[in-house]
């Protein structure tokens, strides 16, 4: 039997996976009791750009880094509304994400139609999990190559859920997935105790700071590449893109960024940049994305 060694880059880690005779079918177990196809599907999530979710005692927030496949293209939407009280942020195969979003929207609509009430998050997650699991146990299907971060508000308060191609779903206080998301998770772990009592604005700023930590030194959060979604007590879902993101980016303290100052950033004023300066930054930003952000193998559209 032949063995190939394929190295997969994830941030600063080098994961080494052995290609072997048990990884062609999702219905084949390896002698170690692993399903390699499912694990390979999880790698697709790591190829997508980062997204962060955080919740307080009253709100749930998602922020996402949008990627543009070329200068000509618009930045790919990462956050999808599911219902008035649920939004989902994707990382991985966008097409797979759309299928799952459509399923979730139908489930929410059915609940509204048949029961005249909003679908509870835990009910929705069970159904999504059951649907994704089917694809890990049939020879004629493949696992969904997308990781989702769900933010929702229901009768039990705010929720953040993470799903994996393995069909597992996790109830989280805060989470980050996608390329270089480990840095974001480190930020979230460090500030975990502050989230529960955060105000609406503080919560968004925490999420944006966590997202900023995933960026390489020469890339900044701009209103073009950043998306925010928030839902909470007494507040239906709002998704902010483009100019609507400006007030939240202004609130960020640029100096505190982990990783130290780069040459380009010294030129920026120490105070929070004004809206006009933000527009200039967007115009003169380096053509997105820099080469190290490109997904490996461009036949798969991962965002």
């Amino acid at each position: 039997r032949h063995q190939n060694i394929t190295g997969v880059v994830d941030g600063s880690q080098l994961l080494v996976m052995f290609r072997n005779q048990y990884d062609n079918d999702v219905t084949v177990w390896s002698p170690q009791g692993r399903l390699h196809q499912v694990e390979y599907a999880m790698e697709a999530v790591k190829q997508g750009s980062a997204t962060v979710g955080v919740k307080s005692s009253s709100h749930a927030v998602l922020v996402a880094l949008k990627r543009a496949s070329s200068e000509l293209a618009a930045h790919q939407k990462k956050i999808m509304p599911i219902d008035k009280h649920i939004a989902v942020s994707i990382s991985g195969l966008t097409a797979d994400a759309r299928v799952l979003s459509r399923f979730m929207r139908t489930e929410c609509l059915n609940e509204q139609f048949a029961h005249n009430q909003a679908l509870s998050l835990n009910k929705l997650m069970e159904r999504v999990g059951a649907k994704m699991q089917i694809a890990t146990q049939r020879y004629d299907k493949r696992p969904y190559g997308v990781g989702l971060l769900l933010a929702g508000f229901d009768e039990d308060g705010p929720h953040i859920y993470q799903t994996c191609p393995s069909a597992n779903y996790y109830d989280c206080q805060a989470m980050a997935i996608g390329a270089r998301s480990q840095s974001a998770r480190t930020y979230l772990e460090r500030h975990l105790d502050e989230f529960r009592s955060s105000t609406r604005e503080e919560l968004i700023r925490h999420a944006l700071r966590a997202l900023r930590d995933t960026l390489p030194n020469d890339v900044e959060l701009t209103n073009k590449n950043c998306s925010i979604a928030i839902v909470g007590k007494g507040e239906d879902l709002s998704i902010y893109d483009d100019d609507d993101v400006n007030p939240y980016l202004e609130g960020l303290d640029q100096e505190e960024r982990r990783g130290g100052a780069g040459g380009a950033r010294d030129a920026q004023p120490p105070a929070a940049p004004t809206a006009a300066a933000e527009e200039d930054d967007a115009a003169s930003a380096p053509p997105p994305p820099p080469t190290d952000e490109q997904p490996q193998g461009d036949s798969m559209e991962t965002d």
């Binding site: 139609f113 048949a114 029961h115 005249n116 009430q117 509870s120 835990n122 009910k123 069970e126 229901d154 009768e155 039990d156």
Partner: protein, 259 residues
């Protein structure tokens, strides 16, 4: 494997195919022209259900008779049941259809419990779901011959709703089915005109009075009944209540031929 006396008909090569002289339903066609006709009348039926909202909860009452036409056949039929701590359901109409829908609803509640869902089925959700089910059945010309009253709580507010076999649905502060609509509802409205918010005891007295009048006037009514009281604390069902002792049949002596 050649066995004597066995011919090709015992081991059909193709089954389910067209048979000469019969209509053939092509596979994949959802519209079945089988010419089936469904039962369009109730057999064993229950009579009125009465419900009202009072200050502090909701109350429902229904008698325990299953009539077989004009025969008072089953005198201990429980037409009222507790769905969850937030909802109770009572039906008039075909008893078999009530028993069927009760099984379906009980399984629905069981599924929620097994899934570990924290939000239990409340009266508003049950009412909406029941409306959709009954309307769908009527649209297929296969109705569940029921008139239902859903009582309970929806989002901390008392809820009382009516659903019909044809899918008519509405919410109100007083609701009744069958003869109750003509006798009980005016009685309740009159009592409410005198006093807007009824207390628990007043509500119970009023409901019992309504059932008594129905027993006098409705030929398909009986003196044994059930009463459900739904408060924010939960659902209490009083079974095997009897209003026979409170009834006065002196007037029967004035009817010629009574002795």
């Amino acid at each position: 494997m050649a066995v004597p006396g066995v011919c090709l008909q015992d081991f059909p090569l193709w089954s389910g195919g067209p048979t000469p002289g019969h209509f053939y339903n092509f596979p994949g066609n959802s519209k079945m022209n089988t010419g089936k006709s469904h039962t369009m009348y109730p057999s064993t039926s229950g009579t009125s259900v009465v419900g009202l909202v009072y200050d502090g909860g909701v109350m429902l009452a229904a008698d325990s008779l299953g009539s077989y036409g004009s025969l008072a056949r089953f005198r201990d039929v429980k037409r009222l049941f507790k769905v969850t701590d937030k909802a109770a359901l009572a039906c008039s109409g075909d008893i078999a259809d009530y028993q069927f829908i009760r099984e379906v609803i009980e399984q629905k509640v069981r599924d929620d419990v097994c899934g570990g869902y924290t939000r239990e089925l409340n009266a508003g959700a049950l009412h909406c779901w029941l409306t959709r089910v009954l309307y769908n059945r009527r649209s297929r010309f296969d109705p569940l011959w029921l008139e239902c009253v859903v009582a309970g709580y929806k989002d901390d507010e008392p809820f009382l709703g009516y659903v019909d076999k044809i899918g008519t649905a509405f919410e109100a502060k007083e609701v009744a089915t069958g003869f109750g609509l003509h006798f009980a509802v005016p009685m309740i409205r009159e009592a409410r005109e005198k006093k807007q918010n009824l207390s628990c005891d007043e509500a119970r007295k009023l409901l019992t009075e309504c059932l008594k009048v129905l027993y006098y006037r409705d030929c398909r009514a009986h003196f044994k009944y059930q009463l459900a009281d739904i408060t924010p604390e939960g659902v209490t069902i009083h079974d095997d209540l009897n209003l026979k002792k409170e009834t006065n049949w002196e007037v029967a002596n004035y009817i010629s031929g009574y002795e």
